[in-house]
Symmetry: C2
DNA sequence: TGCCAAGTGGACGGAACCATCCACTTCTGG
DNA sequence: CCAGAAGTGGATGGTTCCGTCCACTTGGCA
């Protein structure tokens, strides 16, 4: 996690700056492109052809490329809202008087977002590796905030003492893979999150699990889920 | 899991049949191609260009395509050994007098394989969705075997009663994503497996975890890990 | 040994996508 | 209203990869 509330402000401000110098028609096109990108990314993943986004936006490719010189720029901009949401939830979690509740809500929120918004998991990671000072700072701020949350939850005796902040990333990446393999199967992601939250608790106790997923190996029909080809 | 020992036999037999009708030079080339494919897949993932495999094997593309008409055929053949290993471990697990030990070993083995052999996670899934009767049967045999293992482990009071066989697939897919995102980071996969095995136990107890991964968000440098682009 | 079926390699056409370039259109300030 | 700066679209060349085709080579059997 590396999104702090500070990021929200700076992101929004930067967005304003980007938009401000634009002619009104250009600004309108920019919005159209972002809307189209969100739709197309949701349908076909963040590797959908740029031309598809442009067509959907009713705009030429050149316009798209001028506004967003690289695909990454487009992805970042398209998922800025979700990133902000993550930042807000992290901030809330740190302020939560019950640190475990905050911890739990943070994890559940981000994992649900990964589940619901196709393309977001990739965008999530994409948002950080940025050479700009601003991003590096936001990244570190987020990490510090999460580390604080972890320490508080451990001090409260709710989170196991050997939980390491990097475990969050491990969990998010795992969930990312799961979601990629089973788009739309909320049950699978829900199960993973429930299991891991139990494992993260200091007081080992078995609670009720959400219903299991209905996946079976044979459900991987046809040649192969393209989403998984590249990765493994 | 859908690999039974029956599969090993049939696979090997089928392989023999495939090979038997071949002229000696063709058989040699087939082996060369498989060796090259293993190397190339390990280096560049299972979506590496077919031409690269062919070149590495010192063979023309036509030869490759005649022997393995589709990429999936090649992938399946290249990872047949690992699939067999999975089948053997499943068979051993079912026969293990301590069902939890078998269950644990099965999971750890497959996850370690996913971690160590790039391309294998994809191949693993790829091996199943097959329209042939043989594969469907092998698949069902494996599922039955694993279900038996689960039941026995639950009866022994080691595995939590609400564990569902589909959770295995959930776990493997999650690990698959993790491994894809962090190739070479055994610690991350180890942590995930340790957490989940704890969560799967009937008797909740906190054991020692393997050391945490050193991943940090900022480690996702450069544009973006290509392995993850497609998937999310 | 010689025939020919089996096997082979690489050229080739086609598809998908990227990202640039440039002639044309549209805003906007004076 | 009009000049020119800002913005635009789509044609275009380039790259990568796929998968087939066909003229040539090679192994094995009579």
């Amino acid at each position: 996690m590396a999104v702090g509330s500070s990021r929200i402000a700076s992101r929004t401000a930067a967005d304003g700056e980007v938009t401000d110098g634009l002619r009104v028609d250009a600004r309108r096109n920019r919005e159209r492109i972002l809307t189209a990108a969100r739709e197309v990314f949701a349908e076909r993943g963040i590797d959908a052809p740029m031309a598809t986004v442009a067509r959907r936006a009713g705009v030429g490719v050149a316009t798209l490329y001028r506004r967003f010189p690289t695909r990454d720029d487009l992805v970042r901009a398209a998922f800025a809202r979700q990133m902000d949401l993550c930042g807000r939830v992290l901030a809330e979690a740190v302020d939560d008087p019950d640190p475990w509740h905050g911890f739990r809500r943070l994890i559940e929120t981000v994992c649900a977002l990964q589940q619901e918004e196709r393309g977001f998991p990739a965008a999530f990671l994409l948002a950080f590796p940025d050479t700009t000072q601003e991003h590096t700072r936001a990244c570190e701020h987020g990490e510090r905030a999460f580390a604080t949350l972890v320490r508080r939850a451990q001090a409260a005796g709710a989170l196991r003492p050997d939980f390491h902040p990097s475990d969050l990333l491990v969990m998010l990446l795992a969930n990312c893979g799961l979601v990629a393999a089973l788009p739309g199967d909320g049950a699978a992601s829900g199960r993973l999150v429930a299991y891991l939250l139990e494992a993260f608790r200091a007081e080992p106790a078995r609670g009720a699990l959400p219903p299991p997923s209905a996946v079976r190996l044979r459900d991987f029909s046809g040649p192969f889920p393209k989403e998984l080809r590249r990765e493994c």
